[in-house]
């Protein structure tokens, strides 16, 4: 019996090590592909192209869709940030999804909204009843008040129904955008109009950055370690990871915080899946599914410029809720699009991207938690000695840190977002600290999310309490 237990524990620990070596090596390859793509893009970047985009009267208009549920602290700032964008033709369609706070009141007061009416496209199904429509004097801002259907996807579908321009930009109500954000994400559409179906922008945590009227004055790191660690995570996964996947048209997720889509294509797939917890990933995969099925030549592009800043959870309770929702959402998406997995008909998406997300994203918390259980078990039963246990842990953790350091290095060389020396030091320390406590908690949260997904429990999109931005103008942003 002991022999069996011994070989089981050693065998599983070896499996865990191989699994994490494979996971981190794959990610390292993706990050290196991203670095190469980024270097090339930087060497052939052109300010003139952006100027031309702005000056051209034929540049396509963009409807910015903002679903808002209890966003009173940040909604005005966000709308100002959208209106201040440098873009020739845009409208903002905000859906107040049954907020119970003063979200609508602050909007009405700030933008002098008046009751109006608007014809819906009548293409996409929606759930929550629309109560009223309000517009600003210049017609650039449209606010739709509707009953809460407990789904962000439904709020976005309503916004889609009432939008008018050929491109729709979906953003979170607490997002703060760079001045040229829209120009950067629209550019792929005008440079390759036949093929580009969607483009996503790079998202960065805003915590710690002083802002004024929805504009970032200085890019700084957050004060607390939990959001600092999330900055490293965002660099590794949401920036370089996505640049890497995008390089071979394998982008599975465009963050709901900032993504641009062709309106007609979103309508063709029936809009967002209203009851999905990961409506952003669901939409992107819906596009992949349809366009690959129809054998169309298309591209879904990621724009690595830092274009969108969003508040990340500062307290662990909220972070835990967010990560559980992500994990649950990923399971939903993979289940919904299971027909694509390992199906050569769907090309790289079917044969590489979705299997990767299944094996190395969805199942990682199971392997990680089992590994965390097996290691002390092995020690307790004397199957593993301390030296071996420490070495196992060092290799697994060390490779993870190395990956984060590569991401920090690529970011510093390519984007130079954080100028202060202190920030570079903090990021390196955060890359180290992430592996002691945060990562294990993260695995646990994801496992819980996975479990709730398997049980099919009902989770809704709800408010994420905001700490608020540091607005130096003195305006109340929280």
């Amino acid at each position: 019996m002991r022999d069996f237990l011994e070989s089981a524990v050693i065998g599983f620990n070896s499996f865990v090590i191989i699994y994490f070596l494979a996971l981190n090596s794959l990610y390292l390859v993706i990050v290196l592909i991203a670095a190469r793509a980024q270097r090339r893009a930087q060497r052939m970047s052109s300010e003139t192209a952006l100027e031309d985009l702005f000056a051209n009267p034929l540049t396509p208009g963009v409807s910015v869709l903002v679903p808002a549920y209890n966003e009173e602290p940040s909604i005005v700032s966000s709308v100002h940030s959208i209106l201040d964008l440098r873009y020739p033709q845009l409208e903002v369609v905000i859906v107040d999804d049954g907020s119970t706070d003063g979200t609508f009141d602050v909007l009405q007061q700030e933008f002098e909204l008046q009751a109006s009416t608007r014809v819906a496209a009548g293409v996409v199904e929606t759930v929550g009843t629309v109560n009223s429509v309000h517009i600003s004097r210049d017609g650039q801002i449209v606010v739709i008040r509707k009953e809460n259907a407990r789904r962000r996807g439904d709020a976005l579908n309503v916004a889609l129904e009432y939008s008018r321009y050929p491109l729709v930009c979906m953003i979170d109500a607490d997002s703060v955008l760079e001045k040229d954000a829209l120009m950067h994400v629209v550019r792929p559409f005008v440079d390759d109009p036949e093929r580009v179906a969607a483009s996503g922008g790079a998202i960065r945590p805003i915590n710690g950055c002083p802002t004024e009227r929805g504009m970032i004055l200085e890019k700084r790191l957050p004060k607390a370690w939990a959001p600092r660690i999330q900055v490293v995570e965002y660099l590794r996964s949401f920036l370089l990871g996505r640049v890497g996947w995008s390089a071979f048209n394998g982008l599975m997720i465009i963050s709901g915080a900032f993504g641009l889509f062709r309106r007609d294509l979103v309508q063709q797939i029936g809009g967002m899946t209203a009851d999905s917890l990961a409506e952003d990933a669901d939409l992107v995969n819906g596009l992949h599914y349809r366009l690959r099925k129809e054998k169309q030549d298309y591209r879904i592009v990621f724009v690595p410029h830092p274009v969108c800043w969003t508040e990340v959870p500062e307290n662990l309770k909220i972070l835990s809720r967010q990560r559980r929702r992500w994990s649950h959402g990923l399971l939903e998406v993979l289940w919904r699009f299971r027909a694509m997995i390992a199906n050569p008909r769907y090309g790289r998406m079917g044969m590489l991207v979705l299997p990767y997300y299944l094996v190395f994203e969805l199942l990682t918390p199971i392997v990680e938690i089992l590994g965390l259980i097996c290691l002390p078990m092995g020690l307790a039963f004397g199957i593993l000695n301390w030296q071996a246990a420490v070495l196992y842990a060092l290799v697994a953790i060390g490779y993870g840190i190395l990956l984060s350091v590569v991401a920090i290095a690529v970011d510093d060389v390519s984007y130079k977002t954080y100028r202060r020396w202190k920030d570079l030091g903090i990021l390196l320390v955060a890359a180290f600290l992430e592996n002691f406590g945060f990562r294990q908690l993260h695995a646990f949260w994801r496992l819980r999310g996975l479990w709730s997904g398997i049980r099919g429990s009902n989770a809704a999109w709800g408010e994420m309490p905001r700490v608020g931005f540091k607005d130096t103008s003195g305006a109340a942003t929280n």
Binding site: S46, T117, R137, G139, D192, V395, V405, I408, D412, L428
Partner: protein
């Protein structure tokens, strides 16, 4: 080799790589900051010389300054880098003088040679410079690069031709787009429209000629650009395109252009489009165009279009009626009271109009 030894080697290797990469990043950052400081210092020295030159060359006593600029060799800042930032801001003779300095430094010739480089980055930079300088001797090089295998280089060549801005550049651009080579290495229409708009009236002849081009893309581009440029002699050609062109995008571009040109002679063709056209976007564009022309003859067909089955057309037609002033608004109010199709669009447009003009809405919603 035991498992423990392998693990020990792997852990040590990780540690070494982490430290090495962290240090390299720090060194890179320090070098970048030092370089940025030196760059600023060099710019601070070079900028006043350049400004003095631009301020005094007309007096004819700036030969020394010109010699300094021609001989300038920076460590971190090239003369071309500084000029690339300045050129778009200069006009007329100042710009020509600066381009002359570039020519005498051999920069223009180098750029022309650079367009032949094996490296896409070099070809890209070379054609960007030719465009920024706006020198007509760059037209053959830029036209050749329209067929480059690298997309970024092709787009830079389009922008360069737009900035060089002559009839020859416009003709070269449109001829290339209508050729078979353009099918092999396609160029998106949006940058082309901007290039042609930059060229402006010099592009008119080539645009009118190309309304008959084989390529759908070229005809669409020409229709749209002719409308934006306000080329009235093109109206009859655009009316023909709106009537008979088999391509939806060309008919759409023609409808946009006819609206922009707002000639009453287009009313018949546009109202005919409301009856015969099947594409929603084109019908909506025809409604908008009729609103811009605001000819009383188009009131009845627009009223009918307010009851169209597609909301895009309904709203476009209702908005077009607003352009007719009180007559159009009265018709919209009548439609708004009805429960039939079109009432919703009429109510929306009336509400928007009353909010925009700060008047009391005459309907309830």
């Amino acid at each position: 080799m035991t498992t423990a030894t392998v693990l020990l080697i792997a852990a040590t290797l990780n540690l070494v790589l982490i430290i090495a990469l962290s240090l390299s990043t720090a060194v890179w950052k320090a070098r970048r900051e030092r370089r940025a400081r030196r760059h600023e210092e060099e710019l601070a020295q070079l900028r006043p010389v350049m400004m003095r030159y631009l301020a005094t060359w007309e007096d004819g006593d700036a030969h020394d300054l010109a010699d300094i600029l021609i001989a300038y060799r920076g460590v971190t800042t090239s003369f071309e880098e500084l000029v690339a930032g300045l050129l778009p801001k200069l006009r007329g003779a100042d710009r020509s003088m600066l381009v002359d300095i570039l020519r005498r430094r051999g920069t223009i010739e180098d750029a022309r040679m650079g367009t032949l480089s094996r490296l896409p980055v070099r070809r890209y930079r070379a054609v960007e410079l030719l465009g920024a300088a706006g020198v007509s001797e760059g037209i053959p090089e830029a036209t050749r690069l329209l067929g480059d295998r690298n997309t970024d280089v092709r787009l830079a060549a389009v922008r360069a031709l737009g900035r060089i801005g002559t009839a020859e550049a416009a003709a070269g651009l449109l001829e290339h787009l209508d050729s078979e080579e353009a099918l092999k290495h396609p160029i998106p229409p949006h940058p082309v429209t901007m290039a042609l708009l930059r060229i402006g009236t010099d592009a008119t002849d080539a645009l009118v000629r190309s309304l008959e081009a084989d390529s759908v893309e070229v005809r669409t581009i020409c229709a749209e650009v002719l409308g934006v440029l306000g080329v009235y002699p093109a109206v009859s050609g655009l009316q023909v395109r709106a009537r008979v062109d088999p391509s939806v995008s060309v008919r759409l571009g023609a409808a946009h252009a006819l609206g922009r040109l707002s000639m009453p002679s287009s009313v018949d063709d546009l109202t005919a489009m409301l009856r015969t056209e099947e594409e929603v976007e084109v019908i909506a564009a025809a409604c908008t165009a009729l609103g811009r022309i605001a000819d009383p003859a188009s009131l009845p067909p627009l009223e009918q279009a307010v009851a169209h089955e597609h909301p895009t057309v309904r709203v476009a037609a209702a908005m077009a009626l607003v352009a007719f002033g009180d007559t159009g608004l009265d018709r919209l109010r009548e439609i708004a009271q009805q429960d039939a199709e079109g009432g919703d669009a009429a109510r929306e447009v009336l509400a928007r109009n009353s909010i925009a003009t700060n008047t009391t809405p005459l309907i309830s919603y």
